[in-house]
Each structure stands twice: as structure tokens, then as C-alpha cells.
């Protein structure tokens, strides 16, 4: 199975690899997946006073598609409001990266990571957690 050029590009030149200070109140961290399943994503957002995501970082243990999905997610998150970020759908990632059906779970994981990071941020700031719809991996 050949990878799409976009997956290869994100894999070779991943955007926003790194770590934000998770002790800060304006940083939300989402850690999803499991080592036994072969993919773990950690996605972090930093939110400024206007409620805009000013920075996003990721680290991913997983296949090329998982790395590309999380790299793409961090690119998309930057500059978005929380409400806009919540609206990112895994199928947008599938479309952008041309993921084959067996790799759709990578995009679902990236969406889960975004929502987990947002919820962590909301919890830290006394906001109720978002109700998340269950997606099949």
C-alpha cells in the first residue's frame, strides 16, 4: 500500500513536534490511544486570552498515517477558536491526507486527541466538559 504524498510530507517534515508546559492553566493536553494498540497521540493546545489557540504541539507513537494526522491537526488548530477546533471532524483529516480505509482510525484518534486536549483545558478553567460522541476506531 503506497502512502499519499501528503502523508509522506507530514511524516518527513512533521509540523509542531514538541511539548508545552502542561502545568500551565492555559495549556490543554490530550493523551489518547494505547501502546498495545500500536498508536498513542499526545496533542497539546495553548489558548490565549481571546480564547484563540495560539500554539499547538504533538508527539505521536504510531504509523506514518498517525504521525501525519496529528501533525495536520496541530496545523489546523493554530489560530482557531475553541468552538472552531471542536468542529474539526476526522473525515476532514481523511480527505486532506487521502487516508485509505484501514487508516481511518488514525484520523479518529487525532479527533479524539483534539477533544481530549480541549476538555483538559476546559476542566482546568472551570468549564464543563464537552459531551463527546463515540466514534468507532
Amino acid at each position: 500500500m503506497a502512502y499519499s504524498e501528503k502523508v509522506i510530507d507530514h511524516y518527513s517534515n512533521p509540523k509542531n513536534v514538541g511539548t508545552l508546559d502542561k502545568s500551565k492553566n492555559n495549556v490543554g493536553t490530550g493523551l489518547v490511544g494505547a501502546p498495545e494498540c500500536g498508536d498513542v497521540m499526545r496533542l497539546q493546545i495553548e489558548v490565549n486570552e481571546e480564547g484563540i489557540i495560539s500554539d499547538a504541539k504533538f508527539k505521536t507513537f504510531g504509523c506514518g498515517s498517525a504521525i501525519a494526522s496529528s501533525s495536520l491537526a496541530t496545523e489546523w488548530l493554530k489560530g482557531k477558536s475553541i468552538d472552531e477546533a471542536v468542529a474539526i471532524d476526522n473525515m476532514d483529516i481523511v480527505e486532506e491526507l487521502n487516508l485509505p480505509p484501514v487508516k481511518i482510525h488514525c484520523s479518529v484518534l487525532a479527533e479524539d486527541a483534539i477533544k481530549a486536549a480541549i476538555n483538559d483545558y476546559r476542566a482546568k478553567n472551570g468549564l464543563p466538559e464537552l459531551a463527546l460522541e463515540e466514534k468507532k476506531h
Binding site: I8, P35, G62, A66
Partner: protein
Amino acid sequence: MELKLPIYLDNNATTPMDPRVLETMLPYFTDHFGNAASRNHPFGWAAEEAVDYAREQVASLIGADPKEIIFTSGATEADNLGIKGVFEMYASKGNHIITCTTEHKAVLDTCKHLEKLGAQVTYLEVLPDGMIDLDALEKAITDKTILIAIMYGNNEIGVVQPVKEISAIARKHNVLFFTDGTQAVGKIPVDVIADGIDLMAFTAHKMYGPKGIGALYVRRKNPRVKVTAQMDGGGHERSMRSGTLNVPGIVGFGKAAELCKQEMAAEAARLSILRDKLENALLQLEEAYLNGHKENRLPHTTNISFKHVEGEGLLMGFNKNIALSSGSACTSASLEPSYVLKALGLGDDLAHSSLRFGLGRFTTEEQIDYTIKAISDTVNKLREMSPLWEMFKEGIDLNSIEWAHH
């Protein structure tokens, strides 16, 4: 020597055909196209003569008599014929088969199929280094046991089982011993007499011969072994395997066997030096682990886990230039990581992080040097972006985290 790319290090999956083998085969597609069973004209005679010669070449590689070689379409068919054929032929004696959890699917799934037909199958667990526990094997034998099916060399980790000891146990209890010799034959000395093998499956395309041709060795003396045919027809191959003989394939198999016999000692020595160089360099990386027994194994195979890096992601770093396989689920259709590595007791995480290296006749030292650098660089790069590596470096016990399994 100049570096030749891309590099093929997946020789346990299949090997390239040796040009000398191809050359020997070519006339049998065109000029000598006859059916080896045509007894009444020169076309048939030429084909039969070629098959007879190849049968001697193949038999000679494993110390067998040519009459003991049954040509099949490959090792999978030979595994099926050997195991199902014994189950059916010896039904009056018993219905119990002993095998082990690290066998190839062609053996495991054949056994599972027989379970539906009334077979009792014991799947022995292996020790953490991949070796069979001989005591457990002997204890598993009952008065209903008709067959022990244990592979010679493992395809994923290269571990070579103590075949002589296994056959001695089988002999002592009057049980037949079948071995899947697919990875071992042509790579290390295999001698059906000295090793006490009653039936053995092997194939040409793992030893620089063509795909689509393999063999089942069936012992004719001490004891005389018989298998029930699994395919009915013209009664070819001493009525054990009907079907027009694949003459060009058989000729190629014979030539491949002859070359292996001539070159095995030198090739095994050369490949084990290259394999050790590769392995030692990669095990220098932090948190890199060898899977399987370090001594008892094939000279051209190694299997290494790079903790906190996922196998398919790792392959992607260099798979334009290096062909390898991984025990990661992502590289297989099943979404389960390697059952062989799991049978050694490896956690799913380490199984997902494994690479299998199969060196071969055409592997060069320059290619190994290139591979060492490419893999080391990619492992380091991916660890920099692995959250598990970061946690490991911070001293966090990954087992203490409640992972969201999905």
C-alpha cells in the same frame, strides 16, 4: 563495492531467483515443454529425465532418496499434505497431533481445520527465547498421538529447534515427526536421516529458486511413512499428489538445491558475519532488544524490537530504499501484532516495535552499513516525536497509565 539500492532484506518472505537457476529453467518452457507423464514420445522422455535429475538434486540437499520427494506447489501445500495426509492415513492409530504456537499459519491453520474433523491438537507454548520445551513435548504425548509437527527454523525470529532431540522423543514413543523446513533447507545443513525426520515441507522460492514449486519429503524406510492424497487425479508422485508436474519449476528447484548445497557453508559464514554486524550495531541503540535465542538460529535472520517506536512508522522512514518487514499490526491485514513474538511473551507494545531482517545471497556489506545508519537515524528521529519515549525518559512507568484501549 558500490552501494546498490534499494536493499532487499526480506529474504525470509521470498528470495530473488538466482540467474543460474533461471538459465537452467528456460529451455523447459519452450523447447522441452513435454508432459513428464507422456511415456510414448521424446517430448515426454525429455521432461521425465529433467524431473528425475532435479529430484536427485533436491533429495541430495537433504540427504534423502529421490523416491522420497513428492513435488507440490509450495511449502503451504506440502504442510497441508503432510499433516492432513498423516491424520487421514493413521486415523486407526489415533487422532492426536502436537505442534507449537510459533508455527507458520500453514501448519497452525491446517491443525485447526483438522480439529473440526475430530483431531485433538496440543499447541505447545515456547520458552521466552522461542525454543521448544522438550520435557513439555514428551509429557504431551498420549497413546492417541500420531504426529509431532515442529518447524525446523522459524520464519520471524530464525530460531532453530532441537530437531534431533525432538525426533528422538518421537521415535521413542512411536510417533511420526513432521517438520516445516521452509526457512532452514538450503540455509543450514538439514539431513533427514541424521535429524530423524519422517516428513518435511520445503520450497524453492526461499532458496533462490522459482515460486510455485515445493516438496514434501516422505520417509520410505524405518519407518515407511504414507500420506493420504489430498488431491485426486492421475496418480502422480507415487499417488500422493496428482497433477501434471511443473517441469520448469522442478528443474529450477533442482538447480537451486544444487547451488545451495555447493555454496551453503561459505554463504552461511558470510551472512552470519553480516547479520552479527547489523545486529550488534542496532543493539547499541538504547532500549533495543533481540527477539529469540541468540545462538540457536538461522545465520541470516535477526529480529529486533526498538521500544517506544512503532514498526510501521519506522519502516516508513527508509522503505523507499530498504525492504524489511515488521511485527507491527499495521503491516499485516489482521490488525494483530505478530503472534510469534507474542508467543515469546513479548507485550503487544514490543511486538509492534519489531523489525525482521532476512539477509540473503545478494546482500552486501555496503548495504548492511547503509541499513545500520538509516535505521539508527530513523529510530532516533521517531523517538524525538514519541510521547512514550518522552515519558520513559522522565521516568514515568508506562504501565501506571490508564490507556484508553480502542
